[in-house]
């Protein structure tokens, strides 16, 4: 049974007929070719699949595509207005990534973090990252990156 859905992905309209069980993460990756969104776990822990759904960071592996019907989706590919979003730039400048697999979800999550708390303390940043796992950096330089991005975006 296919269900018709319409959504806006990175500013472009998308109409699709999907199986009800199709996960939003799979719609983005397999059907729309937006493979910047990663899948790193089965249990909504790792946050690699984080995207913005109507402006809020959500784990796209835990949302059915049909639930996103009528919504606006922003993935890592659509984040920048220009070459790089200030958060992307800050991750690069501060070595906030190593293997890069958690990075798209991490960056999106950090953008959302600053949206809700533009000047977080280090402790607030660390707690704000609890939905995203990184195995490479020990988070040290991710925290630095978020601090730098906060400075840029508030400046």
């Amino acid at each position: 049974m296919g269900i018709s859905i319409e959504l806006e992905v990175n500013g472009a309209s998308v109409s699709k007929e999907v199986e009800p069980r199709l996960l939003l993460a799979h719609l983005l990756r397999e059907e729309l070719g937006l493979t910047g969104t990663k899948i790193g776990c089965d249990t909504s822990q790792c946050g690699s699949c984080t995207i913005l759904l109507d402006g809020q960071a959500v784990k796209s592996c835990t949302v059915l595509a049909v639930q996103a019907d009528g919504s606006e989706v922003t993935t890592i590919e659509g984040l920048a207005n220009g070459d790089y979003h200030p958060m992307q730039q800050a991750f690069w400048d501060n070595h906030g990534l190593q293997c890069g697999f958690c990075t798209p979800g991490m960056i999106i999550s950090c953008v959302d973090l600053l949206n809700s708390n533009p000047q977080p303390s280090e402790d607030e940043i660390r707690h704000g990252l609890e939905g995203n796992l990184c195995r490479c950096t020990g988070y040290h330089n991710i925290v630095r990156a978020v601090q730098a991005a906060a400075e840029t975006m508030n400046g």
Partner: protein, 285 residues
């Protein structure tokens, strides 16, 4: 991971949703999906149909009237945590909702989904118990209300019938002299509560305790109330000594253990976190 196949229904009213449930005994209700979709992905659940209530207007919104706070079943944790109404009338619920999962989860997970799923390690059940919440339920046979203390039946089992939907949570607004706190010891992997303590105390003008409740997540198969310990505080001055003495003999019935924490250790956590929650609640009263 990949859920099994199911039929998908997106009713626009509670009545319609309840009817679909009545017609499809193997259907499950989908709200935010943050309890259900993970178990479906692991194929620990494979409902034949999902009834997506996420777009029913009647299940949205937070309101205050006649001394009570009403929260629609599809209100998210994030909305609860940041609602000025909830922070004023039931700050315990806002505090507990703000500690569930992570930011991403809090944008999607709903109070109705949480309470209906009845995971004893989640954060809202004990808060609902401690606040004396009333849960409004709609079914094909009509509507009814269930107190939180009657709602949680057993591990992930509630008083909801198969064709019933939790529609609204009603909480008596906190009166003067009331303070509350939710304190949680989180599991390092899942973020669920190894133990979560929800405390509410009320003091009179002289500082003595006129009412107290203390409930726990994570210790037993359901959220539980430590009613004896709480009632022994009534009349006390809520000093640290009074709190310690009220908790010294506390034992949570049917405490459960697993590979992360034994039942005995969870009892210790309940005493330590209960004391901390009561002290903070007192300081806020």
């Amino acid at each position: 991971m990949y859920p099994s196949k199911f039929d998908y229904h997106r009713p626009s009213s509670v009545q319609e949703a309840v009817q679909i449930l009545a017609d499809n005994p193997d259907a499950k209700v989908l709200a935010g999906g943050h309890s259900l979709i993970p178990v479906m992905k692991l194929r620990l659940a494979a409902p034949a149909a999902l009834v997506d209530i996420g777009r029913i207007d009647a299940l949205q919104g937070i309101s205050r009237s006649n001394g009570s706070l009403r929260i629609g079943a599809c209100v998210t944790y994030n909305e609860i945590a940041n609602s000025a109404d909830v922070q004023a009338a039931a700050p315990l619920l806002a505090e507990a909702a703000g500690q569930i999962g992570d930011r991403q989860v809090r944008y999607r997970g709903t109070i109705g989904g949480n309470l209906s799923h009845a995971d004893p390690a989640s954060d809202l059940p004990a808060a609902a118990l401690a606040l004396g919440a009333t849960l409004h339920v709609a079914g094909s046979g009509g509507s009814r209300s269930v107190s939180a203390s009657d709602f949680f039946v057993d591990l992930m089992m509630t008083a909801l019938q198969a064709d019933e939907i939790l529609t609204e949570v009603e909480i008596p607004a906190a009166g003067a002299g009331t303070g509350s706190a939710y304190v949680k010891f989180e599991h390092p992997a899942s973020g669920y509560a190894l133990c979560g303590a929800a405390a509410v105390v009320t003091r009179d003008a002289g500082g003595s305790c006129t009412g107290a409740s203390l409930c726990f997540n994570g210790v037993s198969a359901t959220a539980v109330s430590a009613a004896d310990a709480a009632s022994s505080l009534v009349g006390s001055d809520l000093s640290d000594g009074a709190i310690d003495s009220a908790l010294s003999g506390m034992s949570i019935p049917d405490a459960t253990g697993d590979m992360f924490a034994s039942a005995g250790y969870r009892q210790e956590l309940a005493r330590a976190l209960g004391a901390q929650a009561l002290r903070t609640a007192r300081d806020r009263a």
